[in-house]
Symmetry: C2
Subunit: 515 residues, 2 copies
């Protein structure tokens, strides 16, 4: 079944006659512009070179693979309308840590497969800052660029092979990443992103020939990277907004994407407010001393056994525990708080923790898993230091939400029709736990919706629907980016949010009976 | 002195600040769009890659080299504003027989030099037809394409060297040729041009990266080939119209470009009518048995000595005569007619020619130069066959002029404000002679204006003035192409025009006293 309004169209060009002797290219152009209700289309030289022969041998019927940029439509390639050659696209989320690729059938809009792999640039620097610094030295940029491009090429080729396709079947590449990842992917200078006044090289990268980016797909293939709004608000978030449909809602909604940074967008079809703030290291696995990314054996869920009041853990793949990840941390903090093992200031209580608490060099440690049950030969603990870090993070998160929703948009949390939680972190977080520690506001649970990898979702959306292109440009245009102003008022709000769940417990009515 | 409204502009980009943190590319884009009063500009990846460093080291000042296509402006390159690096362009007339290149300074709009050379494709086929047939065999197209591209590259490099420049200094290439030459230059299939219903592959070639056409100029350079209207109405003529300013005239004017074909455009700023017809071989040197192109020793002028009534000749470079070229032929025919050596039917009169006429195998020959004064070891003669051929040509020409000016445009020749004669042929033709034999209408001599190589002229015009781009597109749009309908009426008109100057001698009042 052909996806009628996608980027692949079967067209019938008006055959020439003595009374209609327009050139083939202009004949094709007219047909495509009519089909697309458009004013401009670029027909590339390689397509032009074989056009007369192709049109005549196909009896003026053809399968057109199309894409666009801000300036015009682009005819990517013109194919035999009766051949069964597949026409594929790849959507990519270029994460700092992990890259996700989706292989899509552009004719049906159906996803063929997905593949994830670590961003190989991590070998050079774990974070954006380290990589940008590296990119500014000698051949650093070329090296970082090759690392990611080579890995993407390899994985696209693998995926194609795995599903019985060829990389030449891939005509359109859409990618979304943060501003730095996007720059490194394009091979353009990014050092100014991290130097005051924090200027990206480009906000809206035009559609490029895939081969100009060294992407190894069809030789006529094109690549589009989602635009960014600034150094701290990347294409991944624009893609996420597209995926959430925030820009098309009547009632205001919010989307929160938590990684190293928390990125927040609130708005509807009329307005979009966005801000990004450091949510703190504790929310990101791998940064917190104890925390780690979600691998087998990692504790991803913690709850209180209703009978024994003991903490119960769940590990990924039910393996012996090796550590704890972000969602596990939030569950753990919630469980500790709800079982009164920590007080409203987030401090361990010797009275309630009992033997699970020990002190070493003046720091309290809570034993979550004892040595015998741990896979790492030592107990898995949560230190007061780790917990303080989480407390700061959760306070920062709540404060940012409060600033943008209440102080900036002038709404109450209750006014939000939907609360989208995006990102890997969001996929696993338990909203009840998050509310319990006051990281998320206490609104009806059905308001929360997990988006998963919204950046990949938006990139896939674009492959399916040309109209998404204008939405992306409009989203970019209509976002008001709020610089978080860390002033006295912010600090006061932040201080209140450092309590569990908050100094003003009336904000968390669902916890009233518990606390 | 900077040519302020050309394709090279010195710009000052607004420097970034914490309050204005737009990306460098969008900052540059805004500056350029303001400068150009435009909506769209494409910034290529190579420029983007070095943009942040360049803008900062140049203190946000830059020299922008610009061009455009139908869809948007194009930033060709961004240069150091204080360097003395020249910014050049080349305009080319891609003639079937001869190619002319002009090297221009894009900043001043001044021509640096000109160079002409034979189209090396002639080795494969002398005319369009032979070359198109050849292009359709095996690697014929690639071979023909390489021949012309290599020769152009060589000559651009030579010209640059000669004038103390480098080929990398050339950023913009504009070229005009007939439809077939344009196709061969672009390396696209042209066989349909000569097969009914005569369809070019492309009417409006978009601006290409020069390197994609294998043009060896600056690596970021661009190339634009003038659009055509159809198989028989090429970019060279559009370029000629641009050069003649026909599209901007208040009163109707006419432009005639005579080669193997006579191409005629009549019109003004409101309308343009065009037609092309075989003017006949006699007008083109090299085709007529005796005629040849304008080389040293070739008779280019003939007149009647007022005292002796003898014919006097002039040869190029005053060398001993070797033959006669087109303009010489017309002078000769006029002289023969005015001295009554031929009658009004264009037949030699034995009575007036006397010993200068001899018969061989039933055909009359007129001796223009005797064996002793000739450089070729035999007399230089004009046969009745040659003369008949010229008679047909001149009749065809006049008839076409009559059809388009009178029957189609509904004007009288006297209504024409200007009569432009373009092409090499036009550069040397003596209007008095042309009127005398009835090839050109009998209108005031000051109406005639020689344009020279108008195709090259238009291509140069475009290098100097971006506004020419829209004019070119508008000219293409506004031309009504008239298919010459060789019906009974045409044949009747043609028959009348085969007389000297015409059966209706009242049309040539300036000859009344003579004939």
């Amino acid at each position: 079944m052909m996806h009628k309004k996608g980027f692949v169209r079967t067209i019938l060009v008006e055959p020439p006659s003595l009374n209609n002797n327009t050139a083939d290219a202009q004949r094709l152009e007219k047909c495509l512009l009519d089909e697309l209700s458009a004013d401009h289309i670029r027909i590339p030289l390689p397509v032009l070179k074989k056009l007369p022969l192709n049109l005549r041998s196909w009896e003026f019927k053809a399968k057109a693979v199309l894409f666009k940029d801000r300036h015009s439509w682009i005819l990517v390639d013109l194919l035999n309308p009766v051949s069964d050659n597949p026409v594929l696209g790849t959507a990519i989320d270029i994460g700092t840590t992990r890259i996700m690729i989706s292989l899509m059938d552009l004719e049906t809009g159906i996803e063929i497969g997905q593949k994830g792999f670590d961003n190989p640039q991590a070998a050079i620097g774990p974070d954006v800052l380290a990589r940008i610094h590296y990119s500014n030295k000698n051949d650093g940029l070329a090296e970082l660029n090759s690392l990611v491009i080579d890995a993407v090429n390899l994985n696209i080729a693998d995926m194609c092979k795995e599903h019985g396709y060829q990389k030449q079947d891939v005509y359109i590449f859409t990618g979304a990443g943060n501003t730095a990842m996007t720059h490194l992917f394009l091979g353009i200078q990014s050092i100014e992103i991290i130097k005051e006044p924090y200027i990206p090289c480009v906000n809206i990268p035009d559609t490029q020939l895939a081969k100009d980016l060294n992407l190894d797909i069809n030789e006529n293939g094109v690549a589009f990277l989602f635009p960014n709004i600034g150094s701290y608000f990347g294409g991944d978030l624009i893609s996420g907004i597209l995926f959430s449909d925030l820009d098309q809602k009547q009632d205001p909604c919010i989307m929160v994407d938590v990684g190293t940074n928390a990125e927040i967008v609130v708005g509807n079809r009329d307005w979009l407010l966005a801000c990004a703030g450091a949510a703190g290291p504790a929310l990101e696995g791998g940064v917190s001393k104890m925390g780690m990314t979600a691998n087998p054996g990692v504790i991803d869920k913690v709850w209180i056994d209703p009978d024994s009041q003991e903490l119960v853990i769940h590990t990924i793949d039910a393996k012996k525990p090796v550590g704890i990840c972000g969602s596990g941390m939030i569950d753990l903090a919630a469980s500790l708080f709800l079982s009164k093992r920590i007080d409203i200031r987030g401090k361990f209580s010797r009275q309630t923790c009992g033997e699970q608490l020990f002190e070493k060099e003046g720091i309290n440690y809570f034993i979550l898993v004892d040595k015998n049950h741990s896979a790492i030969g030592e107990p898995i603990c949560l230190s007061q230091v780790d917990l303080n870090s989480l407390t700061s993070s959760k306070a920062a998160m709540y404060t940012i939400l409060e600033v943008i929703v209440k102080n900036t948009a002038g709404l109450e949390f209750e006014d939000l029709e939907k609360f989208y939680v995006a990102g890997t972190f969001g996929s696993f977080i338990n909203p009840v736990s998050a509310i319990s520690i006051g990281i998320l506001p206490d609104i009806p649970l059905e308001t929360f919706e997990v988006l998963g990898n919204s950046s990949l979702g938006g990139a896939k959306q674009l492959l399916k629907n040309p109209d998404a292109f204008e939405r992306i440009m409009k989203i970019r245009q209509s976002i008001t980016y709020i610089e978080l102003n860390v002033n006295q008022e912010f600090m006061n709000m932040f201080s209140g949010a450092k309590f569990y769940p908050h100094t003003d417990s009336s904000r968390f009515p669902s916890l009233q009976n518990i606390i």
